[in-house]
C-alpha cells in the first residue's frame, strides 16, 4: 500500500478551506494537456514508446524547479487499491485508476506530485499538468500550471500547430489544452429548485458541469464541478476570466437562495441541517452517497452559522477520507463490502467527535430556540 506520509500535503492542502470563497467552493483545479511532438499519442503508442515518453518526461521534471522534489509513482505498477486512492485524491484519472486489464493496456503510466501541483504521464495525453487549490482560486492555480508548463516546455518539444495551438489526443482539448474546474456546493439552488435553470443557462454560455468525480459521474452531495467547455479560439486568460465571472454569478445566486431559505423556511432549514448532523454523528452504517448528501446538509448549516463548531476543513476531509480506498488505507488492509459502510460511519463519528472536542462542548447542543 502507498505510504500516505509520502504525500505530506500530497496534493491535499486543497482541503484546507483556506482559499477564497471556501464557504461555497471546495476547490479549483486547472489542467493543461500537452504531448510530445516526436512520439505517437496514447492510442497509437506501444509499450516501449510509452516507456521512452515516461523517461523523457521524468528527466525533464527532475531538472524543473517546480517538480524536482516531486513524489513519483509508477501508476501502472501500483495495485488497484493504491491507484484508487490516488484517484480519490483527484491525482489520477479514472482511466489510470482502472482495474488491471484496462491498466495493462496503458503501460508506463506515471504521476509526479509536488506541493499543490502534479503531472500525470501517459494518460490520454503524454502530459497532464495539474494544479489543485483550496477554494475559488483560478489565478493561483493558473500561476502554478503555467509556470510548470513553461519550465517543462524548455526541455520537452511539445506538439504545437501554428493555427490549432497545442495538439492533443482528443480534439476536444486542442488549442490551449486548458480545462479549469471549480467544485461548488449549491444546496440552496437545489432546495429552491433553481438549479436546473441555472445549469441550463451555464451550458448555453459555454460551461459544462459534472458531479464530484469527473466525466459522467453523478452529482452527489450537491457538489457541482463547473468547467470550460471549449479550449480553442480564446486565450488561456480569456477562458479563465469567462469561467470566473460565471462562477461568481452562480455563487451570488447561491448566497441569495440561502438567505431566502433562511428567512422564509427557517424551521425546515434548521431541521434539515441538524438531522443531517445527527445522522452523521450517530449512524452506524453509511453509504458513500448518503454520506455525501448528509455532509451537504451539515456544510450548509455551517455556512449559515446554524451549526457552530464544525470546521469546513473537517467537512472537506470527510469528502475524501470516507471513500473506499481511503477507509481501507486507514485500516491498513482491504475491507469487505460489508465492512465499508461500518468503517465509514465510525470514521465520520470520530472526526465529528474530534471537532466537538477541539471546538468545545457547545457544538453538542443546538443553540437555544429563539
Amino acid at each position: 500500500m502507498i505510504d500516505l506520509s509520502l504525500l505530506p500535503d500530497g496534493g491535499m492542502s486543497w482541503l484546507e478551506a483556506s482559499g477564497p470563497g471556501s464557504h461555497l467552493v471546495v476547490s479549483t483545479r486547472i489542467r493543461l494537456a500537452r504531448n510530445l511532438r516526436s512520439h505517437r499519442f496514447a492510442t497509437r503508442s506501444d509499450a516501449p514508446e510509452r516507456e521512452t515518453i515516461l523517461a523523457e518526461v521524468e528527466q525533464a521534471a527532475a531538472m524543473t524547479e517546480g517538480l524536482r522534489r516531486a513524489v513519483r509513482f509508477r501508476v501502472d505498477r501500483l495495485d488497484l487499491q493504491d491507484r484508487q486512492l490516488l484517484h480519490e485524491r483527484h491525482l489520477v484519472s479514472r482511466e489510470l485508476a482502472a482495474p488491471e486489464a484496462a491498466v495493462r493496456l496503458r503501460p508506463a503510466g506515471g504521476l509526479l506530485v509536488q506541493d499543490q501541483a502534479s503531472v500525470m504521464i501517459n494518460e490520454e495525453d503524454h502530459l497532464r499538468i495539474q494544479a489543485l487549490r483550496s477554494g475559488f482560486a483560478l489565478e493561483a492555480a493558473w500561476g502554478l500550471v503555467a509556470t510548470l508548463d513553461a519550465e517543462l516546455g524548455q526541455r520537452l518539444a511539445f506538439a504545437f500547430h501554428p493555427e490549432f495551438g497545442y495538439l492533443t489526443s482528443c480534439p476536444t482539448n486542442v488549442g490551449t489544452g486548458l480545462r479549469a474546474s471549480v467544485l461548488v456546493h449549491l444546496p440552496g439552488l437545489v432546495l429552491t429548485k433553481e438549479i436546473n435553470k441555472i445549469l441550463q443557462a451555464l451550458t448555453q454560455v459555454g460551461l459544462t458541469f459534472r458531479g464530484l468525480y469527473g466525466e459522467g459521474s453523478e452529482v452527489v452531495g450537491n457538489l457541482f464541478q463547473l468547467s470550460n467547455q471549449t479550449t480553442l479560439g480564446k486565450s488561456e486568460l480569456e477562458l479563465l476570466d469567462h469561467l470566473g465571472k460565471l462562477v461568481r454569478q452562480v455563487m451570488e445566486h447561491e448566497e441569495r437562495a440561502r438567505q431566502i431559505l433562511l428567512r422564509d423556511a427557517t424551521a425546515i432549514l434548521e431541521d434539515k441541517v441538524w438531522r443531517a448532523y445527527g445522522l452523521l454523528r450517530y449512524a452506524r452504517t453509511l453509504s458513500f452517497e448518503e454520506t455525501m448528501n448528509l455532509l451537504s446538509g451539515v456544510r450548509l448549516g455551517v455556512g449559515l452559522g446554524l451549526i457552530p463548531n464544525v470546521g469546513m476543513y473537517a467537512l472537506n476531509k470527510l469528502l475524501v477520507f470516507t471513500q473506499p480506498a481511503h477507509l481501507a488505507a486507514a485500516q491498513g488492509r482491504a475491507l469487505t463490502d460489508d465492512e465499508v459502510p461500518v468503517r465509514r460511519a465510525a470514521y465520520v463519528r470520530q472526526v465529528l467527535e474530534e471537532e466537538v472536542g477541539r471546538r468545545g462542548p457547545s457544538a453538542q447542543a443546538p443553540p437555544t430556540p429563539r
Binding site: 489565478e139 493558473w142 488549442g175 471549449t230 480553442l232
Partner: protein, 168 residues
C-alpha cells in the same frame, strides 16, 4: 454509464433532474432519449464529437471518394481516418496535417473556432523549444517571484518585482 432506461446501450445523453430536493443524474442512450422526447429540460448531447464521428465517411454512395479518404494513412503514426472515427482519438501530431480538412471541420464544430489565440510555443533552430516570453502573465511572474523569495534568491526576486512593476 449504461442507459438507465434500457440498461443495454451506452448512455449518450446525460439527464439531471431534481427530485424532492435531491439532484439525480442519469444517462440515456440516443434511442431511449428520442423515445422520451427529451430535448429540453436537462438533456444534453454528450459532445458534438460523437455525432461528427458517426457521420464521418457515412455517404449515400459507398464508393464515394470519402471512403477512399477513410483509408488514407497518416505518415507519422500509420493511423487512418477510420481509426480516428472508431477511437475518437488522434494518433499523433502529424495526423492534424494528414487529416487537415475533416479535423478542421471538427474543431470548428467543437470549439466554434479553428484559431488558437493563446500562448505561443516555438522550437528554436538549436532544437530547444522556447515558449515565447510575451505570453508570460503577471500570474506566472508572481508565482516565480514567490518561489524566488522562498529560495532566498533575492536578486532574481528583485528583477521579477521590477518586471511586475513595469507592467502596472
Amino acid at each position: 454509464m449504461k442507459c438507465s432506461n434500457c440498461g443495454e446501450r451506452e448512455g449518450v445523453v446525460s439527464l439531471t433532474q431534481v427530485k424532492e430536493g435531491e439532484v439525480h443524474t442519469s444517462s440515456l442512450c440516443a434511442e431511449c432519449a428520442a423515445e422520451k422526447g427529451i430535448e429540453t429540460g436537462f438533456a444534453m448531447a454528450d459532445t458534438p464529437l460523437g455525432g461528427f464521428l458517426a457521420k464521418l465517411g457515412e455517404s449515400a454512395d459507398p464508393d464515394a471518394p470519402l471512403q477512399a479518404a477513410l483509408e488514407t494513412r497518416c505518415p507519422g503514426c500509420n493511423a487512418t481516418l477510420r481509426d480516428f472515427r472508431e477511437s475518437g482519438r488522434v494518433g499523433c501530431a502529424e495526423c492534424y496535417a494528414a487529416f487537415d480538412a475533416p479535423l478542421r471541420e471538427l474543431l470548428r464544430r467543437l470549439h466554434g473556432s479553428t484559431h488558437h489565440t493563446g500562448m505561443q510555443y516555438e522550437q528554436t533552430a538549436a532544437g530547444s523549444p522556447v515558449r515565447i516570453e510575451a505570453g508570460k502573465t503577471d500570474l506566472e511572474l508572481r508565482e516565480q517571484l514567490r518561489r524566488a523569495v522562498e529560495r532566498e534568491q533575492f536578486e532574481l526576486a528583485a528583477e521579477l518585482r521590477d518586471r511586475l512593476k513595469d507592467r502596472e
